[in-house]
Symmetry: C2
Subunit: 340 residues, 2 copies
């Protein structure tokens, strides 16, 4: 019996983080008797007088939103990071170690329309979100106490999103968080050894194999990474090697918006529901250092596995051992590609 990635349990290496995921292709067959998620009611009004993100409405913190007509950004009224945190640290025997962390948390409304999501928006309107992301990345990155800017979106109540109004967040902070720090090391090592970016070479393999590509345009590719953890996890990667939003050409920004539109549209077809996910951009830290190995990309981590109501649980083994997935990345990519 020959070892076959499509049939046999195996581990895959995540070249971006240096960690492993357990893949159990045969396991999709097991019966499910566990928790079912609720499907969100799909009809929302274009404007909701009780929504704290709609134009003109009052927020939890008491402030009033302007009557915005495109995108809108404001400081999170309950940010996990704060600008005025005093510096300091705590240490005991090298075993108890803490450091104060300064930062800024923002909320970005993608649209004044309460009833839209990214796939419902025109590419030109998604492009406005891309421009805002770029502007925030630059403005926050300029501050000398901000060394890393994390732009992300939690979509759907299953992802802890407390308001269905289309919006994302930015957490900008002094230190480089754990996940980008791993990617920094891996990308830098690869670049030092090969003088090309890791994702450039990885993308070349994917474009040749065509097994895990979902959608592609002139400047971007959305694919299921070989090392994907979540059932329908994807990554949008730029074809050209650059590190962040500021380095994109106008044509690339349009193409990036287009790839977001295409990918999220496919997602909504998987189970015929507005597809929940957490997504976010990994781009160069703003710590004033050169990061020539960094290659711009955006991760999409959607939790659903079997249906609109059955998600993948990353629990016992996953928390204590390492992530585990049932369907293979290739099967997931086939499924997604068939819905383009």
């Amino acid at each position: 019996m020959a070892f076959d990635l499509a049939e046999h349990p195996h581990r895959r290496y995540n070249a971006l983080t240096g960690e492993w995921v357990l893949v159990s292709p045969h396991r999709a067959k097991r019966p499910w008797q566990g928790q079912q998620e609720e499907v969100e009611k799909e009809t929302r009004p274009a404007y909701d007088p009780k929504c704290y993100l709609c134009p003109g409405n009052e927020r939890a913190g008491g402030e009033k939103n302007p009557p915005y007509t495109e995108t809108f950004v404001f400081n999170n009224d309950f940010g996990a990071l704060q600008e005025n945190t005093p510096t300091g640290s705590f240490e005991k025997s090298g075993l108890l170690k803490a450091e104060s962390e300064r930062g800024i948390c923002k909320v970005i409304c993608f649209s004044p329309r309460h009833d839209l999501t990214l796939p419902d928006m025109a590419v030109a309107d998604i492009r406005k979100v891309v421009d805002l992301w770029q502007n925030e990345y630059e403005e926050l990155g300029k501050l000398d106490f901000i060394n890393y800017v994390q732009i992300f979106e939690n979509k759907g109540i299953i992802m802890g999103c407390s308001n269905p109004h289309p919006h994302g967040q930015i957490w900008a902070q002094s230190s480089i968080p754990v996940e980008p720090a791993k990617e920094l090391v891996q990308q830098q090592n690869y670049y030092s050894a090969n003088n090309r970016s890791l994702l450039h070479d990885y993308l070349a393999i994917e474009l040749e194999e065509k097994k895990r590509i979902v959608v592609e345009n002139e400047h971007f590719v959305a694919l299921v990474p070989f090392w994907a953890v979540w059932p329908f996890e994807t990554m949008i990667v730029s074809k050209r090697h650059f590190g962040n939003l500021s380095e994109m050409t106008e044509a690339e920004k349009d193409a990036y918006a287009d790839s977001i539109k295409k990918l999220t549209t496919v997602y909504d077809k998987v189970f015929n529901v507005s597809f929940p996910y957490s997504a976010g951009i990994h781009q160069t830290p703003t710590d004033g250092q050169e990061h020539p190995g960094w290659h711009f990309h955006m991760h999409f981590y959607p939790p659903l596995l079997r249906s609109a109501t059955v998600k993948k649980f990353m629990v016992g083994y996953e928390m204590l051992g390492n992530p585990q997935r049932d369907i293979t990345p290739e099967t997931a990519a086939d499924r997604l590609r068939s819905l383009v």
Copy 2:
């Protein structure tokens, strides 16, 4: 303004893994409008004719359970790992890397009683579970293709547990998973440098500070780690430095069962519901190597944050950056200790 761990956002270092967690003490105040979990109905019969784990019943795979009266262990009918996986690997340019993984997945029924959970059981009956864990660790560990044995429990539908019958699992495999591999490095480095185990020295600090201890007996301490990620995360640590269940004395095994009983009893009082969690033992790999730095411990990762129906979501920032928590470990420990 002086930096204060109880007030200001900060990062804490996890000495066991070498990674960081973001702590936002002020954030517990934000309003919650998001997803609410269902509270499980608490009345279950002592025997459920439709439960595939109850004595005498038929399992999904077609086999019949014996009329067991204490604990019962069997091979998972839908295991993520399989014994007969052929060896092999796959590699392309060092960027696509996979290795076949052999293993065995088992299910352990803690009790024939469908209506119990660990805190409902007598210490003497929990002790029988401990004995079974030890036996499985030894028997599986002896197999030459098994280098690591992960014993764990997913409790509650919110943790993906598909059957309320009290049970846990064992996934035993050829390679050492990501999380224990991190702990192995950290513990070994500390031991090489200090000739004492990391958790021995850490426990000494905790026993002196008494800020994060929840329950304690002659041989074990249950505490909220300084670097806890989940709101009410705890760890049971042995007072004596040893690596695995086989090295425990009879008195230690009794005390371990007692500490599990005490801790889970406290958990059920936090929100007056059967407290969901994933828990698992981290002990020495069974790879035939010496691991003198390893110190036996068990992690408890419970998801609830604000109430029986509102959990902590580890989503966008947490997936893309690093884990973030709202209440401090000290506050969580105070709360738990007050319920002893």
